[in-house]
């Protein structure tokens, strides 16, 4: 097996009869009630802890034990892939496989195929300087998915794209994707600003340099974060204000 890539496999409690839950030794299986249960933070955290690949196996509609729980799970994975792309992670390291318990498929072959497909990427953390950046990015992503904007928007994805609203309209999948990508980008940058200033107070310029985002844009985000009560001015050095993340709750 490829230098023992560390793989986590989240499976739905109901997806397989117990005799078919067998996996290669470098794979840990974690059973959850439904893949709809997977908070995006769980999967991002797995990567942050150095897992090289995550495969989620849930139940195809209509065989989800929780009616459409797995359809929600499916949307979460889509969201996560977009987030992973932002953090610089190969999106292939996350895979969703929808099975039907009736199909009697073997979990091990599904997992082996996955490992085979990602083996060329090698380990996630390569023991180099870049690792620190990736970890920071992942932490920012985790921060972003705990904030309500993304959760609200992604939680409503199915309602927005599948159902017609009271005015007889429906948002197309493309429109929704544009919306969420826009929100994602903003929230991701804001999370980074938040994380940086959580460590130690920083100026707009410092932040801009650190995350490679135009300082005017950084300032805009800072205004939003301040309005939300997530950021405050720590002190003013010369004429430059230094911002600090505020603890919430």
């Amino acid at each position: 097996m490829e230098a023992g890539l560390r793989i986590i496999c989240f499976i739905c409690d109901w997806a397989f009869p117990e005799w078919s839950i067998e996996t290669p030794p470098n794979v840990s299986v974690i059973q959850v009630k439904c893949i709809g249960r997977l908070d995006p933070i769980i999967i991002l955290e797995a990567f942050a802890r150095g897992v090289d690949g995550v495969i989620v196996v849930g139940c195809k509609w209509p065989d989800c034990h929780f009616i459409d729980g797995s359809l929600y799970g499916e949307r979460t994975i889509r969201l996560l892939k977009k987030i992973m792309a932002l953090t610089g992670l190969e999106t292939e390291r996350l895979r969703l496989e929808m099975v039907s318990p009736i199909e009697n498929r073997s979990l091990s072959s599904i997992v082996e195929k996955f490992i085979d497909d990602i083996k060329d990427f090698g380990p996630l953390f390569k023991g180099k300087e870049a690792d620190k950046e990736l970890l920071f990015n992942l932490q920012a992503a985790e921060q972003a998915v705990t904030w309500s904007r993304l959760r609200m928007l992604s939680g409503r994805e199915r309602k927005l794209t599948e159902k017609v609203n009271v005015y007889g309209e429906r948002i197309s999948q493309e429109e929704y994707d544009r919306l969420i990508e826009e929100a994602l980008e903003e929230e991701y940058i804001r999370s980074k600003i938040y994380l940086i200033t959580k460590g130690k107070p920083a100026s707009v310029e410092e932040i801009s340099r650190r995350i490679g985002v135009d300082s005017f844009l950084v300032l805009q985000h800072i205004v939003t974060l301040r309005r939300k009560g997530l950021l405050g001015v720590d002190r003013i050095e010369g004429y430059t204000p230094l911002y600090k993340a505020l603890e919430v709750g």
Partner: protein
């Protein structure tokens, strides 16, 4: 309050005995076959019987029917019951008597036996009076062996008797015993479940010729071991399941030609389409839109039936199309045996006159099953007219509850489960045909074949069970079985901002907002899938047992083990 809403999945709601279908199907998914039988027995003492011959209203109600086909619930029930019989049932222990009031049950059909079962479980001394030598009613004497083997009936009745039910056979109500004599003998409550045992008459000339035998009498005589002369050509009259059973039995006993004469068309037949199909496979011929006018004899024996052709009226107010004879269309079928099967009626001659209703049935409250005589309850076919085993069981259960409350001096009608709730409306989806042959059922197997067959089908059964959508709320099947971590969503009210997201996404509609706009989880419905918790914008929802932190620590553990 008369009737309250209990949140049942549609299968359980549709079952007159409210058998916890979702629970046992779920247990079958996990391969817990014996536990599954136990769960069935909580509500129904006849898993093997109903697994064979129930009309399974549960399958008609099954949500899966809107997607492809309903789950083969009945076959699954049969399978687990058969497996239990193969492996040997845990011996039943008599239930200690908790109460002194003696209860008399008249008639040992499914209604009477189900009532005895429930009352014995509650701890009452119960005596069942039956005029036939064997218990079981129609299940024992009329449903033919090829559909329901006698040893299956006996096996399940033995279970009921094992709980400590007393039986007196060969005792006829109305002759050997009466309501008054029973009361004198110290019985405090009586449940009359005498069924509808008499054949309805054709009332046409020639009905008393030799060679004419009514379906129920025909089947009963055979079950009693009497030898009957089976004709070469047999005409069965009627379109119900009884007609089909009589026709197929005659065919099996060697009749060369068997025909069923029915006065309406195929669509109107009360018999289930799969029964009709099986009869056709057996070689029974169907003639529609014909009604007998007289039976013609020769030397006192049947020679032919003379029939009239019929046409159907336009649907009347009730939507039924009545058959109307077409004049001058008399024609004859040469036969040497006629089996009328046009229904059964209640033998009212044995009953106290005050409980007989206008329609020749016993009059009883449809919910509580009380009759006009205090302490006397009635149910089953005797009250509804010919129906089904599962309805009789449902009646037996309701009567048992009423009797218990009557004897305890409680209000009899309170808190009855009447209505059920669809958890999710699947009906928007296109409805598909119901399947009649199941992947796990093989109807005709010899005793020896069964064991090998069961082995093979066990996996098939589990996959069939996996087709269950689990569309109802938590079925609480696993109490004491220790299989499923029961979980519930919990809302932290101080964090909830009332955004409504959880209300929208809960697959089961378990979350509503209260007056102050805070999300509230209905614990009875929540199945703990956590779809809401994974999305709550304010992280205000967590799960009682498996919180996100718990999943994260499972993750840590997995990684630690890997390093070592």
């Amino acid at each position: 309050m008369r009737g309250y809403v209990k949140k049942f999945p549609p299968c359980r709601g549709a079952c007159p005995a409210h058998v916890n279908v979702q629970a046992y199907v779920c247990l079958i998914q996990m391969g817990k076959f014996r536990e599954a039988v136990e769960v069935i027995r909580r509500d129904l003492p006849f898993p093997a019987i109903c697994g064979r011959v129930c009309f399974s209203p549960c399958e008609d109600a099954c949500s899966r029917i809107n997607i492809d086909q309903s789950v083969a619930i009945r076959s699954l029930k049969r399978l687990v019951a058969d497996i239990e019989r193969e492996q040997g049932r845990v011996a039943v222990k008599p239930v200690p008597k908790k109460y002194d009031e003696k209860v008399a049950i008249i008639g040992a059909g499914p209604a009477g036996l189900a009532a005895a079962y429930e009352l014995a479980k509650l701890g009452y001394p119960v005596t069942v009076f039956e005029r036939m030598p064997e218990l079981g009613g129609m299940m024992r004497y009329c449903i033919p062996d090829y559909r329901l083997e006698k040893f299956v009936v006996k096996n399940e009745i033995d279970y009921i008797l094992g709980l400590g039910v007393e039986v007196k056979t060969g005792v006829e109500f109305g002759k050997d015993i009466t309501v008054d004599s029973l009361k004198r003998d110290g019985y405090k409550a009586i449940f009359i479940a005498i069924g509808a045992q008499l054949s309805a008459k054709l009332n046409i000339p020639g009905e008393d010729l030799e060679g004419v035998i009514h379906a129920v009498d025909f089947l009963r005589s055979l079950a009693l071991g009497k030898r009957l002369n089976i004709g070469e050509t047999v005409a069965v009259i009627g379109g119900g399941n009884t007609a089909i059973d009589a026709a197929r039995t005659a065919k099996r006993l060697g009749a060369k030609r068997v025909m069923i004469l029915y006065r309406r068309s195929r669509e109107e037949m009360p018999a289930h389409p799969w029964e009709v199909e099986m009869a056709e496979k057996d070689g029974v011929k169907f003639y529609f839109l014909v009604a007998p006018k007289r039976i013609i004899g020769e030397g006192g024996r049947v020679r032919a039936v003379e029939c009239l052709r019929m046409r159907l009226s336009e649907p009347d107010e009730t939507g039924r199309r009545r058959p109307i004879p077409i004049p001058f269309t008399e024609h004859q079928y040469e036969v040497d045996m006629v089996i009328p099967a046009i229904g059964q009626v209640v033998e009212i001659s044995c009953l106290p006159p005050e409980i007989i209703g206008k329609n020749g049935l016993i009059e009883a409250d449809p919910v509580t099953l009380e009759t006009k005589i205090p302490g006397v309850f009635a149910g089953g076919d005797a009250v509804t007219g010919p129906a089904s085993i599962i309805e009789a069981v449902g009646a037996g259960k309701r009567a048992a509850l009423s009797i218990h409350r009557y004897l305890r001096g409680e209000a009899i009608e309170e808190e009855r489960i009447e209505e059920t709730t669809w958890v999710k409306d699947w009906s928007l989806l296109e409805k598909k045909e119901r399947r009649y042959e199941s992947p796990v059922e093989k109807p005709h197997l010899s005793f020896e074949e069964v064991r090998a067959y069961l082995e093979r089908v066990q996996r098939a059964a589990r996959f069939e069970a996996f087709r269950c959508l689990g569309c109802g709320p938590c079925a609480e099947c696993l109490a004491g079985v220790d299989l499923c971590v029961k979980d519930k969503a919990i809302v932290d009210e101080s964090k909830c901002v009332g955004c409504n997201l959880c209300v929208e996404i809960c697959p089961f509609g378990a979350i509503v907002k209260n007056e102050s706009g805070v999300a509230q989880v209905n614990e009875e419905i929540c199945k703990g899938c956590g779809t809401c918790a994974a999305r709550c914008p304010k992280e205000a929802i967590t799960l009682e047992n498996i919180s996100t932190d718990k999943i994260l620590s499972a993750l840590s553990n997995a990684l630690v083990v890997r390093v070592v």
